[in-house]
């Protein structure tokens, strides 16, 4: 009797398992990640429906390793998953648990059991090893290795058993590794091994860089993200369908994602995107401050406009001077901190924000953003800031041996400069194409003119501009207005502020180690330290970095726009926002309130 019972139970269990394996709805892995209820701002959702959000451009590639534009990220971010998620890699994802060793040299991760890719194939440590050792760390693959270089060495990724992965570094840097693990997608070996020369000698080295281009059939693009690629028509749209094997569930046990489809039409014109949103053709839209009047006036009820309370854009907008400028007069001038402070004082940030950003931005005097965890401390700690004050600027400039000797309204260099008598003027290059950027630069240059400094505005194509500020050592520009994406973590800022950083555009000569100013040396030291510390100590270090930067103003920070987002509140639930241009955050919990769509 008992045996019969056991047998039938066993049969039923097998039946249930097989059902799970062959069910049209995909299958739930035995140990899915249960999202806690506080992650659902609008509560538990219902399955079904699709959401439309316009993408700025065609995705350039479906290969997440080699992509570097937001239009591709909007698609690829939905297709893949990483080992960890959350801030500082604190939450489990594909890895259900992790542990940092006491010496900080290694991190052990335990892979979730029974994980499946979007085509139903299992995701194992083999795929993790493949992703790191054969792809990311592969010298033939154009991946972002700089992210992973700890002490100039790549970490070692190995396995202990069939569910454990160990990442080892030569010096302790657990925070960096954890953060990196939140962004590194795990790729399917069974689909991509054929492109790696080491595993498939038939293909030449570097073939991986062409793998998964936009001509690839959708079935070939496989990942562990909430959606899978359903269709792509060039210049028209990308259609993503639910991944039937997704490994997350809501607190009630419903498999995520809620949405059947995520549709991303390709609409490159900003105006058309705005129009489509107003005309109820799309559900989500990231407006610019200039778009607000239209949104307010012509939108029907149901549009929710989120105006962030703190400057939330990731990126620093600034003017900067090339302290390695070819002109010896300018070079000497730009290296003087008093000049830079004067320039900062001549920038009427508040009026710029009022006129050009509809008041929706925050003036910045240092790096980062107000809402950022690490850099937000600036406002509390009373770092020096150069508020708008033309008289102060005058005084500073007067002390620099720059006087207007011939009465033409423009100062000339005094005798303490290599070429005295030359007028104080420089070329200010601005990316062409953005009316706001150019107008802001024009605004500032008009104030500078009253101070006797002439800034010659030169709108330049973005290519040319980038080439001039970073294409050679030393850089070939005098002054520039640009914005550089942040990324939030101080590590990413090291690219700009550390002497040897690839984006240290204000003084590339620091990399040689000669003539490095005192504050820069301190910065280098601090950046090296912060990479290997955590918690309070890191806080202190970052605060000190900010103080040094605020005092010495190598960059003239302008303002950071307040985060603006608009979406159909009556149609969407659990909307967590959008990053970059169209990358929906937390798309798995997004659901439609009106599932009729």
């Amino acid at each position: 009797m008992k045996r019969l019972f056991c047998l039938s139970f066993g049969l039923l269990f097998a039946l249930a398992l097989s059902f799970a394996a062959f069910a049209q709805d995909g299958s739930l892995i035995p140990n899915p990640k249960v999202l806690s209820e506080d992650l659902f701002p609008d509560g538990i959702g219902t399955r079904g429906g699709s959401v439309v959000i316009d993408n700025v451009d065609n995705p350039r590639t479906f290969n997440p390793i080699i992509q570097f534009e937001s239009s591709s990220d909007a698609v690829n971010a939905q297709l893949h998953a990483a080992l960890l998620e959350g801030g500082f890699g604190s939450a489990d994802a594909l890895a259900e648990a992790f542990e940092v060793s006491d010496d900080g040299l290694s991190i052990t991760l335990i892979l979730r059991e029974g994980l499946l890719f979007s085509d139903g194939e299992p995701l194992t440590v083999e795929d993790v090893l493949f992703t790191f050792n054969d792809v990311v760390f592969n010298p033939d693959v154009v991946s972002r290795k700089t992210l992973w270089l700890i002490n100039d060495q790549l970490p070692t990724v190995s396995t202990q058993d069939e569910r454990t992965v160990v990442v080892t570094t030569s010096v302790p840097a657990p925070l960096v590794i954890l953060i990196n693990l939140t962004v590194q997608e795990i790729l399917p070996k069974h689909k991509l091994a054929q492109f790696v020369h080491a595993l498939n000698p038939d293909v030449p080295a570097g073939t991986f860089n062409e793998a998964w281009n936009i001509g690839t059939a959708p079935e070939e693009i496989v990942g562990a993200g909430p959606f899978r690629l359903s269709d792509f028509v060039a210049d028209q749209q990308v259609v993503l369908a639910r991944n039937p094997f997704y490994w997350k569930i809501d607190p009630e046990g419903t498999q995520l994602p809620y949405l059947d489809q995520l549709i991303l039409p390709v609409v490159s014109d900003d105006n058309v995107r705005l129009l489509r949103f107003i005309n109820e053709e799309t559900d989500i839209f990231g407006p610019a401050p200039e778009d607000l009047p239209v949104l307010q006036q012509r939108s029907a009820d149901g549009i929710r406009l989120i105006v962030g309370t703190q400057a939330g854009t990731s990126g620093d907008n600034f003017f900067t001077f090339n302290q390695d400028a070819a002109n010896p007069n300018l070079r000497q001038l730009f290296r003087d901190v008093r000049f830079r402070q004067a320039m900062s004082r001549a920038l009427d940030r508040q009026t710029i924000i009022d006129i050009f950003r509809n008041g929706l931005a925050e003036a910045r005097f240092g790096p980062g953003m107000g809402a950022n965890f690490w850099f937000g401390v600036q406002d509390d700690l009373n770092f020096p800031r150069q508020d708008f004050n033309l008289d102060e600027a005058q005084t500073l400039l007067d002390a620099l041996d720059l006087t207007d000797s011939d009465g033409d309204g423009i100062r000339e260099f005094g005798d303490s400069y290599p070429n005295p008598g030359e007028p104080v003027e420089f070329e200010l290059i601005v990316p062409e194409g953005s009316r706001v950027l150019i107008s802001e630069a024009d605004f500032w240059s008009q104030d500078l003119e009253t101070l006797g400094i002439r800034a010659n505005l030169n709108p330049t194509s973005f290519n040319t501009l980038v080439g001039r500020i970073s294409g050679s050592r030393p850089a070939e520009y005098e002054a520039v207005r640009i914005s550089i994406g942040g990324g939030g973590d101080p590590n990413f800022s090291a690219d700009v502020y550390a002497s040897r950083g690839p984006l240290h555009i204000y003084k590339f000569s620091d990399a040689s180690g000669e003539g490095v100013p005192e504050y820069q040396q301190q910065l280098d030291e601090l950046f090296a330290r912060q990479a290997v510390t955590d918690g309070d100590e890191r806080f202190q270090i970052v605060a000190e970095i900010q103080r040094l930067l605020a005092e010495n103003v190598p960059l003239i920070w302008i303002a950071n726009g307040v985060g603006l987002l608009s979406f159909r509140e009556d149609r969407l639930g659990n909307f967590a926002g959008v990053s970059l241009d169209a990358t929906v955050i937390a798309s798995e919990i997004l659901y439609r309130r009106d599932s009729a769509q």
Partner: protein
């Protein structure tokens, strides 16, 4: 017996031209407009890139010029403008008239300093309120854009730049066209064949596509022909050069045809017989006969070059900040056109100017051509 009067050719042409009333009026308008543009700095009440920080997006003030106050008729004046945020729409500004502040509009006022044609400095403007930048009493005839720049001033200065560019382009392309066409037609032989092929090939090049590619390649630094002018100037010159390069070929072809025909004329043989050299023949005999054609050609070329320049600027490949042109003004409308067309439609006014100018030149050129063409039968009421 009635007296027979002889009418000179010039008078005949003039009479025929005057009959075509539409073209005649257009000609007068063009003349007037050119004079205005010549004095653009003086007539514009403000500098073309002067940002009035207290007055972004002011609607046109043409309707706000008052002739009546409490006391009855008075000299034209404006009220000061009060600015506030639109209560219903945080993105918009509202401007109300402040009746407590009156600012008369005066002629020959002192305004902001400027350099007249870059030659001498003065601060005399034709009209305005004569107030400094920070005063609420400004006269923005056609309103301002989002940065507070006076649109009327921009239109005037931009128009001048556009017309200068067009004139330069026509000059250069005519020079090249006449040179090559003339050489080809007059010299004959192998030179003619080669140059003919060159002309044909140039005409076989896709104009706009090539133009875009060439302008995109303007080098950012370095010197041009040994000069090193400031970059906006360089851009201006390069655009003019490139436009001329794609425009000279059709003219050269026709010039060649004319030279071919005219060199067989009797008076050329006569001149040769008297020992006149080639250049003398060309300059004193052939060219004057082609003059009418050249004039008409130049007039009719203006609209197409003007439009081409505007298209380039509109696409972002032409004139750019810190200079201004009509095409650029319209590009600034197009960027963010949903907001601009819905709330600041006056920004489209440069389009009216562009259209009117092109129209005027078309009509004028048509009338001129008809007047000069000896073969059209002029039966009074014909067009």
């Amino acid at each position: 017996m009635s007296k027979a009067t002889t009418v000179s050719l010039r008078a005949l042409i003039w009479r025929r031209f005057r009959r075509r009333r539409v073209g005649f009026i257009s000609g007068i308008l063009i003349l007037a407009f050119s004079l205005v543009l010549l004095a653009a700095d003086f007539i514009a009440p403000y500098e073309y890139n002067q940002q009035h920080r207290r007055a972004p997006s002011v609607p046109p003030m043409l309707g706000r010029i008052h002739l009546f106050d409490e006391g009855g008729l008075s000299l034209p004046f404006v009220y000061g403008l009060q600015r506030q945020r639109d209560p219903q729409n945080i993105g918009l500004w509202q401007y109300e008239e402040d009746h407590s502040q009156r600012f008369p509009i005066r002629i020959f006022v002192t305004g902001e300093r400027y350099r007249f044609w870059g030659l001498f400095e003065t601060n005399l403007h034709l009209f305005g309120t004569g107030n400094g930048v920070s005063s609420p009493g400004q006269l923005f005839l056609l309103g301002t854009n989002q940065s507070g720049v006076d649109l009327f001033s921009q239109i005037l200065v931009g128009g001048r730049l556009s017309m200068l560019l067009v004139a330069l382009v026509i000059l250069i392309s005519f020079f090249i066209g006449i040179l090559i066409g003339g050489l080809s037609g007059y010299a004959g032989g192998w030179l003619d064949t080669v140059l003919q092929r060159v002309i044909e090939i140039t005409m076989g090049l896709p104009r706009l596509a090539l133009l875009l590619a060439l302008v995109a390649a303007i080098p950012a630094e370095g010197s041009l022909l040994g000069l090193n002018p400031s970059t906006p100037m360089k851009r201006f010159l390069v655009i003019a050069g490139v436009l001329a390069l794609v425009n000279w070929a059709p003219l050269a072809r026709v010039i060649r045809g004319q030279f071919l025909a005219l060199r067989e004329e009797d008076y050329v043989f006569a001149a040769k017989a008297t020992g006149a050299g080639g250049a003398r023949i060309i300059l004193r005999h052939i060219l004057p006969n082609m003059m009418s054609y050249l004039v008409v050609s130049a007039t009719l070329a203006v609209p197409s070059v003007l439009i081409l320049e505007s298209v380039l600027s509109f696409l972002g490949f032409g004139i750019n900040t810190p200079m201004i042109s009509w095409g650029l003004l319209l590009k600034q409308v197009y960027d963010g056109f949903v907001t601009n067309l819905s709330f600041y439609p006056w920004l489209l006014i440069p389009g009216i100017f562009l259209f009117a100018t092109v129209l005027a030149f078309n009509l004028f050129g048509d009338a001129l051509r008809d007047a000069l063409d000896p073969f059209t039968v002029d039966a009074g009421s014909q067009m």
